[in-house]
């Protein structure tokens, strides 16, 4: 393992400190328990709080700011944060409108946020994201994972909250976006958890892991490395099949947001190449790709690999995707 680190135990604090320093116009960092909030706390709106294991940067702290999150709770690398973090964050940012937690659907995250919720005096609700369609068999979908689609949920819910909408309305929008979003990832190399010091899985020079999770969890299958077009075709097919199995269409000319996400070590040149094929396949399937995002938005530390996310848009989702956002990692319209 070769990384820019000092002591393994200090990575998180040092990295968070650098993040807070680099974006001291936008965010404030609180340590022990660790959480980050907007520099200028918002008033009179539902407080949107997310969190999860570290190692997915810029998720979640990179999405703190106007039009998106109010606070984020980073756990250890790949370990969910703990309830005291959510409680401290909630205490810091809540107004009179309640708190919405946005939580990726992993047992650890769900249970820790649940526990925080039980201890919380303020009114709150939770949106669980579960966009990963890597797992085919529906019997297992209780464990469907939240991956890069979470960014779309956070963006849209953050936008709605900014209008002063109710907790219930924010949760409803979050659930809706999640229900119309599907993702699948593929790994060419493993990630390395710094504290473990070695790759999470072994993978041959001519292999790929189809359906990998953002923590390096195994996916649908290990298969032979192929050309990009063939890989992307399988990914788009999985996404379209998932939409179909959820009775979401796609109908002719449905508008779609296409997010091609790098998992950490894959260069933009390859991500755009993937985008090129993915967009064409969606168009071939009768869809209308009208919104795009390409880059490292939900990573798996230093994994070489990429995920594709498609979100079926409607007027409400489009409006909230397009609205101004000003965070360290996502900014437009202001």
């Amino acid at each position: 393992m070769k990384k820019f680190i000092n002591k393994v135990d200090d990575i998180l604090t040092e990295s968070l400190s650098g993040f807070a320093l680099a974006h001291n116009d936008l965010v404030s960092l609180h340590l022990d328990p660790n959480f980050l909030t907007r520099k200028q706390l918002a008033q009179n709106k539902v407080a949107i709080i997310s969190g999860g294991g570290s190692g997915h940067e810029p998720l979640h702290a990179g999405y703190i700011g106007y039009g998106m999150l109010d606070a984020a709770c980073p756990g250890h690398v790949f370990s969910s944060p703990t309830p005291d973090q959510m409680l401290a964050a909630a205490e810091a940012v809540h107004t009179n409108k309640g708190i919405l937690f946005i939580v990726k659907n992993y047992a650890g995250d769900v249970m820790n946020f649940e526990m925080a919720g039980e201890m919380l005096a303020v009114g709150h609700a939770t949106v669980l994201t579960s966009d990963d369609c890597a797992v085919i068999n529906s019997t297992y979908t209780t464990g469907r994972r939240g991956v890069a689609g979470t960014v779309i949920v956070e963006k849209c819910v953050g936008s709605l909250a900014e209008t002063g909408a109710s907790l219930q309305a924010c949760k409803a929008l979050g659930d809706k976006v999640n229900s119309r979003t599907a993702s699948i990832g593929v790994a060419l190399t493993s990630c390395t958890v710094p504290a473990a010091g070695r790759p999470t899985f072994d993978i041959g020079d001519n292999e790929l892991e189809m359906g990998v999770g953002i923590h390096g969890e195994p996916g649908r299958r290990r298969e032979a490395m192929r050309e990009a077009d063939a890989i992307v075709k399988d990914m788009i097919d999985a996404i379209l099949a998932d939409f179909t199995s959820r009775n979401l269409g796609p109908t002719k000319n449905s508008e779609v947001l296409l997010l091609v996400n790098g998992l950490g070590a894959t260069p933009l040149m390859e991500l755009y190449l993937i985008y090129n094929t993915a967009a064409k396949l969606l168009v071939d399937a009768g869809l209308n790709v009208t919104r795009s995002l390409v880059g490292n938005y939900t990573t798996a530390i230093d994994m070489a690999g990429a995920s594709i996310t498609a979100c079926l848009l409607d007027d409400e989702i489009k409006q909230h995707w397009d609205s101004p956002v000003h965070t360290p990692a996502l900014r437009w319209g202001c």
Binding site: P83, Y106, G108, G143, V193, H215, P218
Partner: protein
Amino acid sequence: MKTTFILSSALAIHAAIVAHEADIESLDRAIGDGDHYINIKRASEVIAGMYNELVPLPPDEVLQKIGTKLLSSIGGASGVLFASFFMEMAKVAKINGTNNKLEIAAAFAAGVQAIVQRGKATVGEKTMLDVLIPVSTTFTLSAAAGKTTAEICQALKDAADIGLESTRAMIATKGRAVGLGERGIGHLDPGAKSCQVMIHAVCNLILKD
């Protein structure tokens, strides 16, 4: 339960976890996200580090402090589950505990029940509960049946081994390994493995006395 028993168990567990690094670590890399050993080692280190603070306290406070500390410092699925285990045991444990077997078995059962409630899982879902539930049942039954300490310890270790081994053929329906579906078959569950290691550690400690 007695504070000394809790604390010497904690130290024995810490030593056993570290001794089994390779086994535990490889399991979560195979069907999880590779951090279970890190989480569990961090947890046992945190508890070991509380030794001086805990030594003068009654057992219920010790268990409560351990639970709260785990809750706020480990994270992940195992962190919150083990925290729940200790926090629930604390409620059941007597302020001036004895090493009465039935008492300890009841506290253990309460702790396991807290894990069930928090994680909404049961036997057969390829989790730590596949070790903890049979161990707890065996403990309650054999203590009630008046078995000797040595007999009970041996029975618990056997139950843990069988429970652990049972996870090999299972398809996970709770926790991170759910994503694997049938690809998880053939691998032991990491949480079940670390629980089996801990059960062995505590039983061996008792047997040595």
